[in-house]
């Protein structure tokens, strides 16, 4: 160990001083690494912010962070598989678990018909007061209003569905579904609101009505399809999920969003892969400069490498020295790049106005204000990739240096 420390001290001094032999080249390389690392982290923060926004919107509006429902509801989302409105024991369980924001919903397949067209829809009965606290739909009303009370007789549909049905605000439509006895239940609703969702798919399928109104229509008074619970952050719901699972009666099923909506979960997981690919691509561009710098630095001192071999430095220590030079260069570049990223992302975390490209962003389900999200995980990933790939790309020049013939190297002019 002492020997290692002594070698390290010697090699560190050599590596550090070699790094500053050619100041201009080192500064250029540091600039490239710093800007590359900054770009990796900055762009990742923007992407992460955009995807988080899309996911949060999708999760809050559809499954919520956690759902409680009948065990058969996911396979057969009909009124038969409904549960009692939470009261007594279940309310106590939710409170004990720490669920602060929750709402009940009725959700079932239905058919909506205007005077011209009809479509299959996802009919959602909501409690407007609770809904305002957990989903973004009330804020997305583009014409008219959202459901105002549990007994509201109006209907809120998406702009795209209105277009398909060739109907508009104030017009009447008929909604049909089945009651628990498999009888058709239907009634006319007036369209009181039209919403524009960030995720266009939602606009075409989700139709909102008051919960109690739907209970009467379907003859399921006192029963709901789901209890939707929303926590602070969709990423960190596991603790609450476990607590709820332990608290609620066994006859109910509780599921986290990522098990209910596997599409959103796949998007969430894909983001990590996306970030890795992005970081690797930027690094590949950087690696040419890094390898070139190291190769030039080695060509510049072929004679010196021959000398240290002649003096008795083992080839492995020469590899070690070149790799240490590379590591020092990478670490300084990473330090500067990370600093730049923090300095530029932090002030933007309160929101970056991208309304100039809002239409394009809306197509992807993102809002016109981007909230860059700088996460420790992304920073560690960018730093890890740069260090690991940087060292790997430095192995070839280091190996070439160690393989030099000392006599030939000493005779190099």
């Amino acid at each position: 160990m002492t020997g290692f420390k002594l070698h390290f001290a010697t090699i560190f001094v050599l590596s550090w001083r070699n790094l500053w032999r050619n100041h201009r080249r080192t500064y250029i390389m540091l600039g490239a690494i710093s800007v590359g690392v900054w770009a990796m982290i900055f762009m990742t923060a923007l992407m992460r912010g955009m995807v988080d926004d899309m996911l949060d919107e999708g999760i809050r509006n559809l499954p919520g962070h956690i759902q409680i429902q009948h065990p058969d509801f996911l396979d057969d989302p009909s009124v038969v598989n409904s549960i009692d409105e939470p009261d007594g024991e279940l309310l106590v369980a939710l409170n004990q678990a720490g669920a602060k924001r929750w709402a009940t919903r009725i959700k079932l397949p239905a058919v909506i018909a205007s005077e011209r067209e009809s479509r299959g829809i996802n009919l959602v009965g909501v409690e407007p007061d609770a809904e305002a606290d957990i989903s973004g739909i009330p804020e997305q009303i583009s014409a008219g209003r959202f459901i105002e009370s549990n007994q509201d007789q109006g209907l809120v549909i998406g702009a795209k569905l209105a277009q398909r049905l060739e109907t508009r605000l104030g017009k009447r439509v008929v909604v049909m579904s089945q009651d628990p006895d498999n009888n058709i239940s239907e009634r006319g609703f007036r369209i009181v609101g039209i919403y524009r969702a960030k995720m266009p798919g939602m606009e075409e399928f989700n139709v909102y009505a008051a919960r109690d109104t739907l209970q009467q229509l379907l003859k399921i008074e006192g029963r709901v399809s789901q209890i939707i619970i929303v926590d602070e952050n969709f990423r960190d719901i596991d603790i609450l999920y476990q607590k709820i699972r332990q608290s609620i009666p066994a006859s109910l099923e509780v599921m986290p969003w990522y098990e209910i909506d596997t599409y959103l979960a796949a998007m969430f997981n894909m983001m990590d892969g996306f970030v890795l690919v992005w970081v690797v691509i930027i690094f590949l561009a950087l690696s040419f400069g890094l390898v070139n710098t190291l190769v030039m630095a080695i060509f510049e001192r072929v004679r010196e490498i021959g000398l240290i071999q002649a003096l008795g430095m083992r080839p492995a220590l020469i590899v070690y020295q070149i790799l240490l030079e590379s590591l020092l260069l990478l670490l300084i570049g990473l330090g500067i790049g990370n600093g730049l990223a923090i300095l530029t992302v932090k002030p933007l975390e309160s929101g970056l106005d991208i309304s100039m490209v809002a239409e394009g962003m809306a197509m992807m389900g993102a809002s016109s204000t981007l909230y860059p999200s700088l996460t420790l995980y992304d920073m560690l990933m960018a730093n890890g990739v740069v260090i690991i790939l940087g060292i790997l790309t430095s192995i070839l020049p280091a190996w070439r240096a160690a393989k030099m013939d000392p006599v030939q190297a000493l005779n190099t002019t």
Binding site: T10, N18, G312, R314, L317, L410
Partner: protein
């Protein structure tokens, strides 16, 4: 350890289509504490022989022993260890590490050997004083004259008291005063520390310091005389 035995050493080089003989069946024994000069015209094989003895180059055939060790059969790592612990090199072109100061250049070999910092700093300062470079410890090679650089190289070669010092034209870039000073230093180290010196040179003044003079031509030893 320092007795060197070379038996039937052969080495050829190719330059384009031409085959050049570096060493042609060389047999030589150098005993511990000897002060030997290798002389001969350019291309006679002096440097090739030094490089082979120092393990910098491997012969095509023949044997080289340093004590009980067959140098010609060692791998690169073991050769590096042998040079580190037993051999000091002085090259014609000084060959100092430009990013290190005079003191750090002298300490370099000891650092790689694993000598503790305080001990190597003391030894380096002593040897630099001995070669007349007191007060110049912190200068980088570019801030030293040719003679001063060569003295740093000599200090580096002898500071860890190697068994053998191999010097290739050590005075080639020095003026006569500096050359005499350097050879005086070599003689003193040979006499007082019993370090074996093998010096390749054209310089008659250098040869005058030798107690054994080996002449080479076309890769062969043509004479081997005690002086």
């Amino acid at each position: 350890m320092s007795a060197i035995h070379c038996h039937q050493l052969c080495k050829t080089f190719t330059q384009g289509d031409e085959v050049i003989t570096g060493l042609d069946h060389v047999d030589i024994t150098i005993e511990e504490g000897e002060f030997v000069c290798l002389s001969g015209p350019s291309g006679s094989g002096k440097t090739t022989l030094l490089n082979a003895i120092g393990g910098l180059d491997t012969p095509d055939s023949g044997e080289i022993r340093m004590g009980d060790i067959r140098i010609d059969q060692l791998d690169r790592g073991s050769l590096a260890d042998m040079r580190l612990h037993h051999i000091g090199f002085v090259f014609q072109a000084y060959n100092l590490i430009p990013v290190l100061s005079a003191q750090e250049n002298v300490e370099f070999v000891m650092q790689v050997q694993g000598v503790a910092a305080a001990s190597r700093a003391r030894k380096a300062a002593e040897i630099l004083r001995e070669v007349g470079l007191e007060g110049m410890e912190d200068r980088r090679p570019a801030q030293l004259s040719g003679g001063q650089q060569q003295r740093v190289a000599v200090a580096r070669a002898i500071v860890s008291h190697p068994d053998l010092v191999l010097a290739d034209e050590p005075t080639a870039n020095l003026d006569s005063v500096a050359a005499d000073h350097l050879m005086g230093l070599f003689s003193e180290l040979n006499e007082h520390h019993h370090i074996t010196f093998v010096i390749a040179t054209h310089d008659k003044r250098v040869m005058s310091y030798a107690r054994r003079l080996i002449r080479m031509q076309d890769g062969k030893i043509i004479s081997d005389e005690a002086q």
